[in-house]
């Protein structure tokens, strides 16, 4: 049973400036990750990369509806959320290269991106682990009397971990200012949802905790943005605590690494086709004039090549860095 989001929210409109900004963000993430995939076989990036190519709309739709002082909690598949929230592309690229100028100075790699200056909490390679951490951050924001909100990203697989259920209950109980964003791409590594869930009624499961839940089944970036904006407004007003979004989406590349893997046989290329047809990058791009789109595309390419050049030119950390940051002092 598919539970569609209420039409009133879906009808929310985006201005020309919104479209331009959202397109730029989508395009930047798509192209940056394609560039990562291109560089990867050179072994310059020695950090396992989990690309979000095809899934950008979720991060962009959600982050565009947040204020800069709101917070996101990304996952190891986190390049999109990191960039959509304003994380520095240069520092991300340098991190992938293992350079001292990276977001963690080369210590964390692709799976542990962070940018506290843009309110991007760190990510974890251990699935589900950051959900309660995001909760704790939200608890603190509420306690401090702010109206800031946390958006916590996780995959469909993460909902199977015990900590997910424990977190939902606590968030509802304490009416925490948190938006749960499940990026449901139907797979955990190579295992489809049908082998992991007895039913797909995720939103219903979540609702029994007393948390309103919406399913967005088509990956439409403007719909995701509108529903997020509406949800965030409610959360900010302190009306009813957490809200849950299940955003259905599709991973175009392999689970980890730069390639496609449809030849592995665990999923069919025909499953990909409708998502490519409905590609949000192209769709938003088509709403812009050719000249404006070309201008944005050119600036995106410049930003990416600057970031790659920055990463290439940066130094590796010196051996002394190995033992710094073990303890705060």
């Amino acid at each position: 049973m598919t539970k569609r989001a209420p039409n009133s929210v879906v009808a929310a409109v985006a201005s020309a400036a919104d479209i331009e900004r959202i397109y730029r963000s989508l395009r930047l993430i798509r192209r940056a990750e394609e560039e990562v995939a291109r560089i990867y076989p050179s072994n310059k990036i020695k950090s396992p990369v989990h690309l979000s190519i095809g899934q950008e709309a979720v991060a962009v739709g959600v982050c565009d509806a947040l204020r800069p002082d709101d917070v996101v909690s990304p996952t190891y598949r986190g390049h999109a959320a990191f960039l959509a929230k304003g994380g520095e592309l240069k520092a991300m690229m340098a991190e992938l290269y293992g350079k001292a100028t990276g977001v963690t100075g080369g210590k964390g790699g692709s799976m542990h991106l962070i940018d506290m200056s843009h309110n991007v909490l760190g990510a974890s390679a251990v699935v589900g682990t950051t959900i309660p951490v995001a909760l704790g951050y939200a608890l603190a924001l509420k306690r401090m009397g702010t109206d800031r909100v946390v958006a916590a990203f996780f995959g469909d697989g993460a909902t199977e971990e015990g900590v997910f259920a424990e977190s939902l209950n606590f968030a509802a109980l304490h009416k925490l200012p948190i938006l749960f964003v499940c990026e449901n791409n139907f797979y955990a590594i190579h295992t489809p949802i049908t082998k992991r869930w007895a039913t797909e009624r995720l939103c219903e499961r979540v609702e029994t905790y007393g948390i309103p839940a919406h399913q967005i089944d088509d990956g439409d970036v403007l719909k995701i943005r509108a529903i997020t904006a509406n949800s965030i407004a409610q959360i900010r007003r302190g009306e009813r605590g957490p809200i849950f979004l299940e955003c259905r989406t599709y991973r175009w590349r392999e689970h980890v690494g730069p390639n496609e893997d449809f030849d592995a046989g665990y999923r069919a290329r025909t499953d990909l086709a409708p998502w490519v047809e409905d590609d949000q990058v192209a769709k938003l791009g088509a709403k812009l004039s050719d000249s404006l789109r070309a201008k944005i595309d050119a600036s995106v390419e410049r930003e990416i090549s600057d970031a790659v050049a920055f990463a290439e030119a940066s130094d590796f950390p010196g051996p002394g860095a190995l033992r710094t940051d073990v303890y705060a002092n």
């Binding site: 051996p319 190995l322 033992r323």
Partner: protein
Amino acid sequence: MSMQTNSPSPSANTRLLTYVDALREGVAQEMRRDPRVFVFGLDVDDHKAIQGSTFGLVEEFGPERVFGTPLSEDAMTGVAIGAAMAGMRPVHVHIRMDFLMLAMNQLVNIAAKSHYMYGGQVRVPLVVRSMIGKSWGQGAQHSQGLHAMFMHVPGLKVIAPSNAYDAKECLIAAIRDDNPVIFVEHRLLYFTDAFVPEETYEVPFGKARVCTAGGDITIVGISNMLVECMRAHELLAEEGIEAEVIDPISLLPLDVETILSSVRKTGRLLVVDNAWTGTGASAEIVAAVAERLGNGQRFEAVRMGYAPTTCPTTPALESEFYPDPAKIARAAYAMVRPGQPAWSPDPERAKLAYQVKFRGPF
């Protein structure tokens, strides 16, 4: 690399087998022998089949005996324990050792304790396979050797085979054991090979192997560090130093006697672990030897392992984090020839022990 093991009963039917194939063969043979054995865990039945170690099992034994799970390590461990109590012999597979942390409560508070706290009324014949990762910037949460955490807990058994021969025998012994066994594998060992008998064979836990005989220094290498110690042994031999390299194989129970009698002979003990040294396996080994040495005999001990920090992803720091053959040989040399100027093997030669077959990114 192929490894000369002084295997207990060299069989006519041996052939070179990789570690990963030895694991697969061992579990398949046990599943044929004993219908109570089943294999489950995230990804055991996908096309990558845990680096190939569970490959073909679902085809041969069917999805009731070989199945993937939701991402629910904590609950799945409890399920394995319950099934074991009911008389089954589950093999629960984790593609990373780090994920065992989610199952810690079940492993420490239920699996390890049940036989004792229920007065012997239940047994937990459970095998937990887990892999230590390394390299390609997998970093902090995908490269930890956490065996010492389990060595702390009576009721568990902990084994860390370093070669294909032991991998097969240990897996079979673990399946046949009536206790929970934490089976520690290392990603870099998967494509190393050794001579492995075709038939099933089993040795009791708690027996270390003396890999090379030598009178100058005792070197104990844990898990994949045994491979690096063997290389260090070669480098040292060229300098005229004879190292006795010991593979403990079984960490709990630990064969202290074998290590002790070697140290009695050499008076020097270097323990190299693929883990941190603090309160770790190396600390335990040194302490166990020190306690038992007796007769006022003195010995010199050095521990090597991860740098006391979190594993970084950048290759610039990763090499500083891990022990390697050059570091091991250098430390051993300094122990054996304390008065002499420091010595370092040719870096090019020392490099050779690295597992060249390993490729990222997984």
